[in-house]
């Protein structure tokens, strides 16, 4: 993982998971000139599977970055050089010149890469004034040259940068950018495409307020009519989502079906239990946990739902590992609850909450994402009542749990007000047909409707 040369020790891209052959540098957490301790995080690394922080394998001064943010690097390639302690590190010129990848930052007015030499020890010590201005003008401080002590960016540097026009276009774009930010595994019809004026309704799984995931670098490229359109760079996670979605819809013949479930008794049960549950267990008792239990039990009755198309055969998985779609502001992740059939409702509720908060904090590990056999998406958490989900390749089916809505319902020729929810299922029609899926959904419905006020959670 490291090689000592004339300049110092090369840090190479490690293999994060067996199948990973390359990884993308998300964000450099250390800059040339910074002191790095062994095991300290050097940069964020994004793979198809996960975003992780890359720990340093040496301690010393970071001398040179060999890979720019946003560039994809093969496993084993050197990404930076560290001058280890003890090696005459006195007068070493710190280099920051990194070739920016073509797709990522294009130059603002010519040149965005900064060539800096000399003492850079204060390069990333931002004063309150600098931070305030950077926020006000939405500036990327990495693009601003520092004239202060130790390469520090002074308030004046920022003001000069603003005055020279460096930020104006960036500023405008950021204001209008949220309009295009949206993503989910489900059909776009149900997702509000405009930035919401009011706080987004969230029952915890989707759409956290604090944005996580890679930095979205927005550029304004010159076009003949700059008011008509503008461009957003594709982030690595966006790229992964895009290729997975494309693969799924092109390879898997999707079919779709929906069922409605009367969850009135479940609502009563949950309302009765939730406060005590929260107090006892420390996590929220969510509808999702009940749904997951119902789905898992139905899969046990219809194991074919838990399978993969193997061309020559159909591979049925014994373990029921539920992938849970968790949306953030600009991406969607599918952490996995393993052996979900071995867990009771409190266990599922706890694991759902842990994975959701891990996702929102951007702390998922490759292990958290592997081995899913069936996907559940709680689309009701962002207000959807009907979705057409795309299957999480290579699984056989995906189920969405839509909003619980009170509706007039006919029961025994009388009209009653009941809490109703839709369940939508997209299925791989190579493996599954209407009848089996209909039965499966009926079983899920029966399971959900059989929860009563007296059901024991444990």
């Amino acid at each position: 993982m490291q090689q000592t040369g004339a300049k110092g020790t090369e840090i190479t891209m490690p293999q994060f998971a067996e199948s990973v052959v390359s990884a993308t540098i998300g964000k450099w957490l250390k800059q040339p000139g910074d002191h790095v301790e062994e095991y300290e995080a050097l940069c964020e690394v994004i793979t198809d599977k996960v975003t992780a922080e890359l720990p340093s394998t040496a301690s010393g001064i970071l001398v040179e970055l060999l890979a720019a943010e946003g560039s994809t690097v093969d496993v084993g390639t050197a990404i930076c050089i560290i001058q280890e302690n003890g090696i005459e590190g006195q007068a070493l010129a710190v280099k920051t010149t990194v070739a920016a990848p073509a797709s990522s930052r294009t130059a603002l007015e010519g040149d965005s890469t900064l060539t800096v030499t000399g003492d850079q020890s204060m390069r990333h010590r931002y004063s309150p004034a600098v931070r305030t201005l950077a926020e006000e003008y939405s500036l990327d401080l990495n693009l601003i040259a520092g004239s202060g002590l130790g390469g520090r960016i002074t308030r004046k540097d920022v003001l000069d940068y603003v005055e020279s026009g460096g930020s104006k276009q960036q500023h405008q774009d950021v204001i209008s950018a949220p309009i295009v930010k949206s993503s989910s595994a489900v059909s776009a019809n149900e997702i509000p495409m405009n930035a919401p004026k009011v706080p987004v309704r969230s029952t915890g799984l989707h759409l956290s307020d604090n944005k996580v995931g890679p930095y979205v670098d927005i550029e304004h490229k010159q076009s003949s009519d700059s008011r008509g359109e503008y461009y957003i760079d594709i982030t690595p996670i966006r790229n992964t989502i895009a290729s997975r979605m494309r693969q799924s819809v092109t390879e898997i013949p999707h079919a779709w079906t929906m069922i409605e479930v009367d969850v009135t008794n479940l609502v009563t049960l949950r309302n009765k239990m939730k406060d005590e549950f929260k107090r006892k267990e420390g996590v929220n008792l969510t509808y999702l946990a009940f749904l997951m239990k119902s789905v898992v039990n139905a899969i046990k009755d219809y194991p074919i739902m838990n399978s993969v198309w193997g061309v020559d055969n159909i591979i049925v998985k014994r373990d029921i590992n539920i992938s849970l779609a968790v949306g953030t502001e600009d991406s969607v992740w599918t952490p996995v609850i393993r052996q979900a059939d071995q867990k009771n409702i409190p266990g599922l509720a706890r694991e759902i909450e842990q994975l959701a908060s891990k996702t929102r904090a951007g702390k998922l590990t490759p292990g958290d994402m592997q081995g899913g056999t069936f996907t559940i998406n709680n689309t009701g958490s962002f207000g959807s009542i009907l979705s057409y989900p795309i299957i999480n390749y290579p699984q056989a089916a995906i189920l969405t749990f839509e909003s619980i809505v009170k509706r007039p319902v006919v029961i025994n020729d009388m009209i009653a007000v009941r809490s109703m929810a839709n369940l939508c299922l997209s299925l791989d029609h190579r493996i599954l047909d209407g009848v089996i899926c209909g039965r499966f959904l009926q079983r899920v419905k029966e399971n959900l409707e059989s929860f009563t006020q007296d059901t024991n959670l444990y």
Partner: protein
């Protein structure tokens, strides 16, 4: 407009006010026949006589006590302390009586008293003739404290102090007496108490100071301007009450602030100014608040080389300003 020294401006202010208002009188050690040890009251005795320019015993508590009584009775006394170093016997009268009269009488009584006292070093005066006592009185509500740096301010502030209804400590820097000259209008004017003054406008760093060090800062700023560093110099002029708005505005303009004073650093006026900035302008600061002040030693050394080492000067100030500008 006449070009006057700082000392002449002070004398002229007293003379004008004594001519204008017969309640104004001066008392202090050697202020009469001798005209003061520095000559600030020269000629006043001849013009106004024994009753209005009074030589007193060497008893500062008596000088201030008599002045407080006269002020409460409706007179406008100007009590001179020969050196601010000698003022300490009078602190009980000033802090416990003068400062509290309006408050303790529920606004029935006021104490329109001026205490003039020369402060500061640089004149080889040693331990007992060089002190800066601002911090002793600074935290006393009920007192006003002014420290002029220019002849214009010296006259305007002294007239404002004489006309003010509350006790005002008027600290004049003895090194400025003859060193600093400037234009002073002939007509009647005041410099309002509680208003700081931007002595030099700038965009790169802010220097907040008062008294003699204003001049060091101005000289240093001229030197630094040759290198393209533009310093804003804010002269506080009034220490109590501080001109918060002016301080905040001046700091906001550059985000970098150096506070200068000759009084020692610990517990000095600069500490309060720094605290105000930290309270209000945290997010506008571009550099740590910097202070350049007198050393925390008991007194001015009585040795010319050591005094030179102790005192601030334009070079030291310039060095500090440069350091801040480069940060």
């Amino acid at each position: 407009m006449a070009m006057l020294t700082y000392l002449d401006a002070i004398r002229l202010a007293m003379k004008d006010e004594m001519e204008r208002d017969e309640n104004v009188f001066v008392l202090g050690e050697d202020v009469g026949l001798k005209g003061g040890v520095f000559g600030t009251t020269k000629g006043l005795h001849a013009q106004f006589g024994d009753d209005r320019v009074m030589d007193t015993p060497l008893a500062e508590s008596a000088i201030s006590g008599v002045a407080i009584g006269a002020a409460m009775y409706g007179m406008r006394p100007i009590a001179e302390m020969q050196y601010s170093d000698f003022m300490l016997p009078a602190t009980n009268q000033i802090i416990s009586e003068a400062a509290k009269i309006r408050y303790r009488s529920n606004n029935d009584w006021t104490c329109p008293l001026v205490v003039r006292a020369p402060i500061g070093g640089g004149v080889f005066g040693g331990l007992y003739h060089s002190q800066c006592p601002e911090s002793i009185f600074f935290g006393t509500p009920g007192l006003k404290i002014v420290v002029p740096s220019t002849p214009y301010d010296a006259k305007g502030l002294l007239i404002a102090a004489i006309r003010d209804l509350d006790p005002v400590l008027y600290f004049e820097h003895k090194k400025c007496y003859r060193m600093i000259t400037g234009e002073v209008p002939d007509e009647d004017y005041i410099v309002p108490i509680g208003k700081a003054d931007v002595k030099r406008d700038g965009t790169d760093i802010t220097v907040i100071t008062y008294g003699l060090t204003v001049h060091f800062a101005l000289q240093a700023a001229e030197e630094l301007a040759k290198d393209g560093i533009n310093a804003l110099i804010l002269d506080l002029r009034t220490l109590q009450p501080l001109d918060r708005d002016a301080i905040l505005e001046a700091v906001k303009k550059t985000g970098k602030v150096l506070i200068l004073h000759e009084d020692n650093k610990t517990g000095g006026v600069g500490a309060e100014v720094a605290a105000i900035i930290a309270e209000e302008l945290m997010y506008d600061l571009d550099a740590p608040i910097m202070r350049l002040c007198g050393y925390d030693v008991p007194a001015m050394p009585i040795s010319p080389p050591l005094e030179k080492f102790y005192m601030l000067n334009a070079e030291k100030v310039q060095e500090a300003m440069l350091q801040l500008a480069r940060y």
